[in-house]
Amino acid sequence: MEKLALSDRILMSVEKPARYIGNEVNMIKKDISKVDIRFAMCFPDVYEIGMSYLGIQILYDMFNRREDTYCERVYSPWPDLDKKMREENIPLFTLETQEPVKTCDFLGITIQYEMCYTNILQVIDLSQIPMYAKDRKKGDTIVIGGGPCVYNPEPIADFFDMFYIGEGEISYDALLDLYKEYKYSDMTREDFLIKASQIDGIYVPSLYDVQYNEDGTIKSVKPLYESVPKTVKKVIVNDFNKTTYPMKPVVPYIRATQDRVVLEIMRGCIRGCRFCQAGMIYRPTRQKNVKLLKEYARTMLDNTGYEEISLSSLSSSDYTELQELIEFLMDEMRNNHVNISLPSLRIDAFSLDVMSKVQDVHKVSLTFAPEAGSQRLRNVINKGLTEEDIMNGAREAFKGGWSKVKLYFMLGLPTETDEDAEGIAELAERISEEYYDVLPKEERQGALMITASASYFVPKPFTPFQWAPMMMPEDYLKRAYHVKDTFNKQKNKKRLKFTYHDHEISILEGVFARGDRRLSKVIYDAYKAGAIFDAWTEFFDRDKYIEAFRKNNMDMYFYTAREREVSEVLPWDHIDSGVSKKFLIKEWERAREEKTTPNCRMQCQGCGVASFGGGVCFEAKN
């Protein structure tokens, strides 16, 4: 009979017990008495979200190829189970073995967004591992973080033994080998941490001392020992065709957010949008060979039974062999009843043709991401999309039968004025007018609906906007209301819809994105006051954070509302993403001059990532 960590009584009393039972198709089974290292891999959010994340599937497969290592999965227990586990003192367990996480050698946490920070504390706490790294001893589980947020991990640095900066495919073997040596010898924990810090991409925060200026900014970040590197440079895969890729991904019993085969076609992005952290930290752009992808697609569909396949990349239209790949998928899959779910494609003749073949145009809406309402502001953010592109795309789409359009915008971008914001409503109006101009009455199918939604811009480390100030809460609201009012003035207002995000969450996200080590106390206190699942609006409680800031005598707007000088020491300056600060400063200046910068394929800007020796930087030279 199967072994489960939770009793039937508990499982049947919580929502979706399938989140906690493991045993899914393609789950890896190993005998724990025959492995040296047990690695608990965690996505600190609910199962359905975590299971949809490709990165864990890649690492799960990669780790489990090592005979001496067993990689097991952990997700955040939903608040209903969280409560029961605390009441009954049940330690958090992995899905594979249903054994406590604290019996594993590593707890690896992927950190995809700032608002999961209290969930990280929840996972460590429920695992019954000492919360602060300084309290852990030899024999305690090593807590390691990875993912985009670790490019500035300072707000959560106190809770982690180490961070992995960059792509997991590179340095884990060295780390696991070192760990084995540590585990089976009398090497001290301190020695192990120092040796780990010498592995490429491994950042051990406890080995760095942070000094502050009187005004609260950072004076210096220095390693405690000579043998510890002054900066930690990210590690990346150079030959993207030679990395491992999971041919047998785990297939959940319950519907995950991403309920399909995911084919990663490209890493990095050539576009250089100035607000976009992914576009900077994943540089240089590297793509997978189309022949390989075809083979992957067939094998993965065979091994999972999924009825849908989707392409993953930051900008699929820039994948040079996209047409061949999509035509293959459509030909191949038509006979096998596989749906193709199309990622963010640039709207043009090709993509519209493809979309009309794989989707019901009357049901599916067309998505544009102009990000800003005016051309001036789109230049500031270096978003290459022009109004002409949008209008041409919309016109073709309307002719093709689409009548639902979604538009994504950001509010609160650097230099944004009320006029820029009004542009959001005006652009939506012009698209609606285009619809009525292009289509005679008898050709209009379904009702036109244009939905514009706005999120608030959050400046992120390692982007040209890392020095930019955010607005105060009341200003965010004012701006959103202003856009709303402008929408109400439009002629076709009944066909236009405008929605906007919660600004309080965005402000906190901004605090954590560019915060420093002193914030760990705030996160800890908010967690202790009951904050978890902050990324979920229904659970987010701003007051818990207000109280935590007050208790620690700290000001959240110090981290958001201040414009930083380019000379200021930033909390993440000892991390090296490969993109030079010089390049970021130049881009920050060009933004304010409203000048655009050509993309990587048009003209190399010398951002610095050519030092990795691969990808788009060398495309022309091959």
Partner: protein, 253 residues
Amino acid sequence: MKLRIKYTKTGVLRFISHLDVMRYFQKAVRRAKLDISYSKGFSPHQLISFAAPMPLGMTSLGEYCDADFESVTDTEDMMRRFNCVSTPDLVITDIVLLPDGAKNSMSVVAASDYLIELSEEGKKCPENFKLFEEALKLSEYENLMILKKTKKSETYTDIKPLIYEMEHRVYNHDYTEYTVPFSNKENTECHEGLYMMLAAGSVNNLKPDLVIEALLSKAGMAYDRFNYKIMRLETYMEDEKGLVPLSSAGQRI
């Protein structure tokens, strides 16, 4: 060609809802590369219909679905292909070819039988064995009343006529044979408990929970579902011979 497929739902699958089991089944059919038929349109789906849904928490050896196929091989081959890409908790145990015009499995269900065992938790309290004693007294009762509560009213219903059979049984490890009554042999390989065959389907449907609850209340006890494990053994339809398994509607291929 329409096939009727019998499958199990055991082990951790007791925590998977009927809807998710259906989705699981369809993926497994694709992994097994069985040549099932699809509907037309932008989002084609498999032409498959499932019989009586199982409540969460229960296991079953007698689940059924009917599906259209473009081509078939034979029962053994199709079962083998499915089972080697499926979890041991959901395996196909029979496939029959339905004659033209056969009614679908959902509409012909007339009864199901179950084995109620004590759970590990339930065994800890000897009082829970009273269920088995109460069950033996059923034939002495004229009726077995339960209180049915709806939003508007509360009515008493007699469920005794919907209980077709009830006895103690001891099954062997894979539920293929049984003895009546208890063997009194201490054997962990065996499953011993209360067997009951109950009306099922769209006309009269009686859930085993309700029967246990009614029996326990005769003994003055409240029903706690976690004291018992409920497994469905088989699903039945009615033909000229009486109640026969749903798979009797067709022939193995």
